[in-house]
Subunit: 259 residues, 2 copies
């Protein structure tokens, strides 16, 4: 990994960029994953590179829904494994959820590399290695699902997911939670709960929330889920970005060295 | 190239993502170019993945300026060569401009691969292969310029360009046109004309405009250039994005298939 000086004003952004490149070199992350990461970087810049209130709200409801679930599953792809392998394993543990590898550009080598990485961080069971079921409406490779994982799940967390697949899971009747920095993406629009945040901030926060909230009575968790409005969350995120851009537009940007 | 099903609702976005990956495999595009492409995708989402009026306006003025130029040069980097090699060669032809390879992460192998690609699409002369001049204020590798190209040019088109280099060219007194999806980037802010559009839409449109406008008398072209205000263009782009986000926030985007 390239060494970035800690003093660099964009240290964390560059650090995670290197993590994604490292994920590619380990055979986990597809090249298209680098492009998707760049898209995320731009949206993170627009939201201000911090967890905003609508994301905190969505995370709380997502954790409640997972704690109430019968068969909760957390999906893992090449970018997730590159950025937050340890947090993924811990989140699954505190939410009592299964882990399933689920790739858009599926190859057996990538599946193996990701499974190895998850096991390195203590994952006992990794699903999605020999998936035998197919999600209706998706072509062969992209539709694979594990009989004991996503196929059977009532609640799924599919972070950094392709829109087509998110939509197909919703159509199957799954309760779908996503983490996506782009509030306009089809995944963001189609999911039941959309956490518009960087996964490197969201997963640690969700682990904290899960540890606090698992002590709550079921009725309280049910209340949290019942009162949630994902359309409002998405609108609030758009308003947040809009207000940031408005401030910049009013100040004028042409030939400005700093904005 | 990975085959993407034509039925995927984001076919074109995925198609150009594959083009960038192919560019990397051909040795033209750097890894950092993949991430930069992703950042562009984010801003294309925000503007609505179509050519907006301020971009059309900027293109028209840019074409007029090029038709009036004494020594016009179009710069080519690894992402440009991956996305629009054919259009780049054609645009240079209709604008009677020279082509110069100009790389942020310059290696001789990448220069050669890009030159080969441009020649494949009919480029006769490709500059920037043995650059002997240096743009003041940039470190060695990044400052290289061809004596018969950018060095001598009065008007330059530097699409998808690094902000430091755009600024250095402006400081040298060049008239600088850029194509950049991020209206907030330093390139966008520093250029004389900023075309905030996806290059895969902008270049074909500029070729059309050049074919129409080259019949115009010089005075008319001069009028087009004289009345232009790039600060207003940039503000109009930000206002467009802001209004779009406002509308989407008000209408709601949850479970909307099209936005």
């Amino acid at each position: 990994m390239v060494k970035i000086p800690k003093s660099h004003p964009r240290y964390w952004s560059l650090y995670y960029r290197e993590k994604i490149i490292e994920g590619m070199e380990k055979g986990m992350t597809a090249k298209a994953g680098l492009i998707a990461h760049g898209r995320g970087e731009a949206f993170d810049y627009l939201i201000g590179e911090k967890t905003i209130e609508p994301a905190e709200r969505a995370m709380k409801v997502a954790v409640a829904k997972f704690l109430l679930a019968e068969w909760p599953v957390i999906s893992v792809n090449g970018n997730v494994a590159a950025l937050v392998p340890e947090e993924t394993v811990e989140l699954a543990k505190v939410l009592n959820a299964k882990l399933e590898i689920n790739l858009f550009y599926r190859t057996e080598d990538r599946v193996r590399a990701i499974a190895d990485e998850l096991r390195k961080y203590g994952a006992k069971e990794v699903l999605g290695i020999n998936p035998t079921k197919r999600i209706p409406g998706l072509e062969h490779e992209r539709g694979k699902a594990d009989e004991n994982g996503i196929w059977k799940a009532d609640v799924v967390l599919v972070p950094l997911e392709d829109g087509d697949r998110t939509e197909a899971l919703v159509r199957m009747g799954k309760f779908v939670v996503t983490v996506d920095l782009n509030p306009l993406s089809r995944s963001a629009r189609m999911a039941d709960i959309t956490i518009v945040d960087n996964i490197v901030r969201a997963y640690p926060r969700m682990i904290e929330l899960a540890k606090e909230m698992r002590k709550l009575p079921r009725e309280e968790l049910e209340d949290i889920v019942r009162s949630y409005d994902n359309g409002k969350t998405l609108s609030d995120v758009l308003v947040h970005i809009r207000n940031r851009l408005t401030r910049l537009a009013e100040e004028g940007i042409w030939r400005k060295k700093e904005i």
